[in-house]
């Protein structure tokens, strides 16, 4: 436990927001007398992340993911609690700390819109004091991984969203940070570009050992990149641990989908598991993991005449996470 590069203890952020009822009267009153409400965005978050880990930060909109990332990157002062990132208190924004991190936000640009990305990279080289040789080799590696060659010399405003995101990644990583905070990095990208970005993040982590804390609404990002997830909801951490284990505990079943010729014999399936959907030709049922092999064999045997196809799958991870967000209680041993 000595290699923690990110440590948060009791991290709390409360926003003070102006509140007003709808209607003209309330609007006029609010001009003279403002009412405010404290909104807790993150409450008592405690966790530690080791060097080189890729951790997924999961939660619905407004759960507190981005606020946590902003505190850890030093953008926001917390209301309470402590944090150390690569040995620094983030919100003091010490120069060494800032040279060790990057925060990439999907749909937000840090590049100058009107000029070529290559020119912005040169500015970053100077700001981060990157020696010429290291700058060239890092940029060459990023160019290879992200296929940036044709993009570097176009004005940023002329790039598509996907192209711009690739260039943003390069801008965020050109100083070879030890920690990368990625906030919805694939937001708005098409499926192919999402997959490309995922492969890049995985490969970059493998090559450079950069610690990555990632938020994403696309579960595919999390499944592809993160062995460990931290689940946050209403500002509180609900789970911190292995993603596979979470799925196993929250969804202790598999999904068997059976295709039948003319639906014949489907009544038998009611006895073999919990039917979750049924139409003329296909029945889907949940079966406890420990009896999956035996039930699958029975289906094949009992429906031999009418069975046209069968598949056995884990429940989609979205379903598992939905159940956590919906307030289903985590097994006690798993809750943070």
């Amino acid at each position: 436990m000595t290699d923690a590069v990110i440590e948060a203890r009791g991290l709390t952020k409360v926003y003070r927001v102006h509140e007003r009822q709808e209607g003209l009267g309330a609007t006029v009153r609010s001009v003279f007398k403002r009412t405010f409400r404290d909104v807790p965005a993150v409450t008592d978050a405690t966790f530690r992340i080791e060097a080189g880990e890729v951790v997924g930060f999961l939660g619905p909109n407004g759960a507190g993911k981005t606020t946590t990332l902003k505190m850890l990157s030093g953008l926001l002062y917390p209301t309470a609690g402590e944090a150390r990132v690569v040995g620094h208190v983030p919100w003091r924004r010490n120069g060494d700390f800032l040279r060790s991190i990057t925060l990439l936000m999907g749909n937000r640009t840090q590049l100058v819109w009107d000029i070529a990305a290559a020119d912005s990279f040169r500015v970053l080289q100077e700001i981060y004091r990157i020696p010429e040789e290291r700058y060239r080799s890092t940029l060459a590696e990023l160019t290879e991984l992200l296929d940036l060659g044709p993009l570097l010399h176009k004005p940023v405003r002329n790039l598509s969203l996907g192209e711009r995101m690739k260039v943003e990644f390069a801008a965020g990583l050109v100083h070879a940070p030890r920690i990368a905070f990625l906030d919805e990095p694939t937001l708005g990208l098409d499926v192919s570009m999402q997959s490309r970005i995922r492969r890049f993040v995985a490969e970059h982590n493998r090559r450079s050992g950069t610690t990555i804390l990632l938020t994403s609404h696309y579960m595919a990002d999390v499944v592809a990149l993160c062995k460990r997830v931290i689940v946050i909801h209403h500002g509180r951490l609900l789970y911190d641990g292995d993603l596979g284990q979470l799925a196993l505990q929250m969804a202790p079943y598999k999904v068997i989908t059976v295709a039948l010729r003319d639906g014949a014999g489907s009544a038998v399936l009611d006895e073999l598991g919990t039917v979750v959907s049924r139409d003329e030709a296909q029945v889907t049922l949940r079966v406890p993991r420990e009896v999956v092999a035996e039930r699958t064999a029975r289906i094949v045997r009992d429906l031999e005449g009418s069975l046209t196809d069968i598949s056995v799958e884990d429940p989609p991870i979205e379903e598992v996470i939905d159940r956590v967000f919906a307030g289903e209680k985590l097994p006690e041993a798993m809750a943070t």
């Binding site: 640009t109 009107d114 100077e126």
Partner: protein, 264 residues
């Protein structure tokens, strides 16, 4: 730091060269306003037999020609953009780089002034020649006046950023910055040479920082003060600049604690 500034200068030059027409049109602001006030004061002087107080017709031309230069070099308005930096979320990435945010604004200002000088300087010279401007400038006026313009520029820049930092609390800070500018408009010597202001207004102009931005350097450059007065006024600029820097550091640090990164 030299490397950082060189790179930022090049970047900003590239950005501005993308928008040549807009850059030129913004440059018009530097001389349109002094020309309007020059025309008004010339009309007043004509109606009073050619003089207003100690100013002859040619003195007014000299003063407002110099005001064109001083307005151009000493005023900045990039702090108007600050609220948009917050609302668009472009401030956050800059705050996370190991370079103080103000450096970007300094570079933007300098490059803007240099590029638009190409338009402003010939116009000012043309007006001086056409309207027969009179200057009483001696070499020592230049030796003190040029640093005075730089001090005025620094004072305007820093005091503007003190006001603009209110955006950390209010987000929509445009009105606050505009109010600051309008007060400056009255007391800075833009409407009239400071020495023509009525007694109470003149006292206020010298008690507040505004007069030290434009009026003081313009009066020194046109030869309107003797040496002891000029040195005392430059001393006033230094004091106000020190106050503005101290205030900026305090307000900025407090603002960062307040910052909620709403746009990012």
């Amino acid at each position: 730091m030299i490397g950082v500034y060189r790179a930022l200068f090049l970047q900003q030059f590239q950005v501005m060269s993308q928008y040549r027409v807009a850059t030129f049109l913004y440059a018009l602001f530097s001389f349109i306003r002094p020309i309007i006030f020059l025309a008004a004061w010339l009309a007043v002087a004509e109606s009073q037999g050619g003089r207003v107080g100690t100013f002859s017709r040619a003195d007014f031309v000299g003063y407002f020609v110099i005001t064109i230069f001083v307005t151009h070099f000493a005023t900045s308005w990039d702090f108007f953009e600050f609220e948009w930096e917050i609302r668009r979320g472009t401030l956050s990435p800059k705050l996370l780089r190991p370079l103080h945010y103000l450096n970007y604004a300094i570079v933007n200002n300098i490059i803007w002034k240099l590029m638009t000088s190409v338009a402003v300087i010939p116009v000012a010279i043309l007006i001086a020649i056409t309207f027969d401007a009179r200057f009483q400038t001696e070499p020592w006026h230049l030796a003190i006046g040029i640093p005075s313009v730089l001090l005025g520029a620094a004072l305007n820049f820093m005091s503007g950023w003190v006001v603009a930092s209110a955006a950390f609390w209010t987000t929509r800070v445009h009105s606050v910055v505009t109010l600051h500018q309008r007060i400056g408009f009255i007391f800075s010597g833009q409407i009239a040479p400071l020495s023509l202001l009525p007694g109470p207004l003149l006292a206020i102009a010298y008690a507040l920082p505004f007069g030290y931005v434009l009026g003081v350097p313009a009066d020194i450059l046109r030869g309107g003060h003797d040496l002891p007065t000029a040195l005392a006024l430059v001393g006033g600029q230094v004091v106000w600049l020190a106050i503005a820097i101290a205030l900026y550091r305090t307000v900025w640090a407090a603002g960062l604690r307040q910052y909620s990164a709403v746009g990012a």
